[in-house]
Amino acid sequence: MADATQPGDGDEPKTERRDFLNYLAVATGAVGAGAFLWPVIHSMNPSRDVLALASTEVDLTPIEVGQAVTITWRGKPVFIRHRTEAEIADAQSVDVADLPDPQTDDERVQQAPWLVMVGICTHLGCVPLGQKPNDPKGEYGGWFCPCHGSHYDTSGRIRKGPAPLNLPVPGYEFTSDTSILIG
């Protein structure tokens, strides 16, 4: 603004060529710094090798009816449960409108006997109990999270407790009748 090259002529300061150059220089610097900020931030996001390990193939043949296994996918536990007829019937008979996170059992499975979901409580991320035969399974016969007391049903839907959502179903596909590819 009013500097040595611009004698005060009494008028209010005008935007001169020199100011324009100043703004331009500052703006260029800001854009440059901003452009570097993104690589810095993005470098903390999952890297390519982490993403490359992002899918897992599972053979279902050894899992008997009524059994459950836990496998690791992207470092997280995935619950695979071979459900019994009774468990399936239970899951399908629920009145969806009453659920905290309404979802039918059909929306959560591809083949009724096989329930596949990420075994991480939607409250604050503990691993619910219910995979092993003598684990507590909660009031709805599915899973029970001991951290703050969330109960999940035989479709992995939240029924009671602080967790807001159902246990998430990961993207997966049946690559044959007896194996699935998760991720």
């Binding site: 903390m44 470092g75 536990p77 991320g125 503990c126 691993v127 807001p164």
Partner: protein, 437 residues
């Protein structure tokens, strides 16, 4: 008493340096002749103690970092190796581990001192704000440090706390993946936490330096909360406070040493001696004791709590409410200088505020206690009422008390009550009689 009375040093080497880089003059002005109110009590030791602990943490931390391996397959074993094989590794680790607890004890007392004697008030608002910034940085540092040994509590504490960010609407989940550098707490997470755990203490050191610079502009408050009127109200930092701080330091180091040598794991959690297992959650996840008060606030917000249901449930879910309240608890502390409407600083002369602050401190202890209990009755209700009390005291009671309270008459100067209390001698003579009001 002017801090600019440049001394003439006898040693020619010192003089040579000082005329080029006045570090000696600076130390002399800020820690030699620096004027301290003569009525300070032992609460004024805790700032110096915090400084000592910070130095101890940085020193032991760097030595540990030379032996530690930040990889999920080796971290736990490398810490066990420090404990068993590294010369005095057990000592370094126990000092570092218990040092974190000592740091928080000291800083919490230091903050209580500030609240009780009104040190946050004009003209020391910025000094107080920098203190709150230090507290936040300490929390981040301690949280990430606790993840490094990669035990069960490390892993699950990290999981629960990072998951808090998923409560943020829309971008929450992306933020969590970004924090993790993956899809769960994993090797990239451990690596970045180590890098940040190394960095943050130096950031803390930087802010501490600003804190001290600000302090040396406004100078110390005192138990009477009145301004220094002149040299008759002060004594030089050296030898009076170098000596008094040393006494406090001696006592403090004995307490510290007691924990390090006789109860090194008393303040820790045994589950952290079990290696991290992403597939098994411990039955009862608890953070370190110094976070429990804030953790209790976080957990108080459940769907069935009447306060949440009436006032908050229509704009946000309980998880977000809990997260906001937890961070809000620190924000209100930062706002304290503007929430307190009274002109009088010290609670010695504030008959109502005195009990408000004591109640606040007791309530914080209660919160810290319930934060460590299982999430069941009666603890949930206690935590919820204490949470309300925390905010109610700071946001409502403190401003109102400032208006309605009639403060007791202030002494006309710092030296007046000192002399009246029979400290003996003349003004400026015995400085050590600091316990009497």
């Amino acid at each position: 008493m002017s801090s600019h009375s440049a001394p003439t040093f006898k040693n020619p080497m010192v003089r040579w340096i000082d005329s080029r880089l006045p570090v000696f003059s600076y130390m002399h002005a800020e820690y030699g002749t620096f004027p301290m109110p003569k009525n300070l009590n032992y609460f004024w030791n805790f700032g110096a103690l915090a400084m000592v602990v910070l130095v101890v943490m940085i020193l032991t931390g760097i030595m540990l970092a030379m032996q530690y391996t930040a990889h999920i397959d080796y971290a736990f074993d490398s810490v066990e190796r420090i404990m068993r094989d590294v010369n005095y590794g057990w000592l370094l680790r126990y000092v570092h581990m218990n040092g974190a607890s000592m740091f928080f004890i000291v800083v919490y007392i230091h903050m209580f001192r500030g609240m009780y004697y009104g040190s946050y008030k004009q003209p020391r608002e910025l000094l107080w704000l920098l203190g709150v910034v230090i507290l936040v940085l300490m929390m981040g540092t301690a949280f990430m440090g606790y993840v490094l040994p990669w035990g069960q509590m490390s892993f699950w504490g990290a999981t629960v706390i990072t998951n808090l960010f998923s409560a943020i609407p829309i971008v929450g989940d992306s933020i969590v993946v970004w924090l993790w550098g993956g899809f769960s707490v994993d090797n990239p997470t451990l690596n970045r936490f180590f890098a940040l755990h190394y960095l943050l203490p130096f950031v803390i050191l930087g802010v501490v330096i600003l804190h001290v610079i600000a302090l040396h502009v406004t100078k110390s408050n005192n138990p009477d909360g009145i301004d220094v009127r002149g040299p008759q109200d002060t004594v030089p930092f050296h030898p009076y406070f170098t000596a008094k701080d040393s006494v406090g330091l001696g006592v403090f180091l004995m307490v510290f040493a007691f924990f390090v040598f006789f109860a090194p794991n008393y303040m820790g959690h045994p589950d952290n001696y079990i290696p991290a297992d992403p597939l098994v959650t411990p039955a009862h996840i608890v953070p370190e004791w110094y976070f429990l008060g804030f953790y209790a606030i976080l957990r108080s917000f459940t769907d069935d709590w009447w306060f949440f249901a009436w006032f908050m449930s229509w704009i946000m879910d309980a998880k977000l409410a809990g997260v906001l309240a937890m961070f809000g608890a620190i924000v209100v502390l930062a706002l304290l200088p503007w929430l307190d409407t009274s002109k009088v600083r010290s609670c010695r002369y504030r008959p109502i505020q005195k009990w408000v602050i004591i109640l606040f401190a007791v309530n914080f202890v209660v919160l810290s206690w319930v934060g460590g209990q299982a999430a069941e009755e009666p603890y949930v209700s206690i935590a919820q009422w204490s949470t309300l009390l925390y905010f109610f005291l700071l946001l409502v009671v403190v401003p109102v008390v400032g208006w309605i309270e009639r403060p007791r008459p202030l002494p006309s100067s710092i030296s007046e009550p000192v002399l009246k209390a029979g400290g003996g001698g003349m003004a400026g003579a015995t400085a050590a009689k600091m316990e009497k009001s």
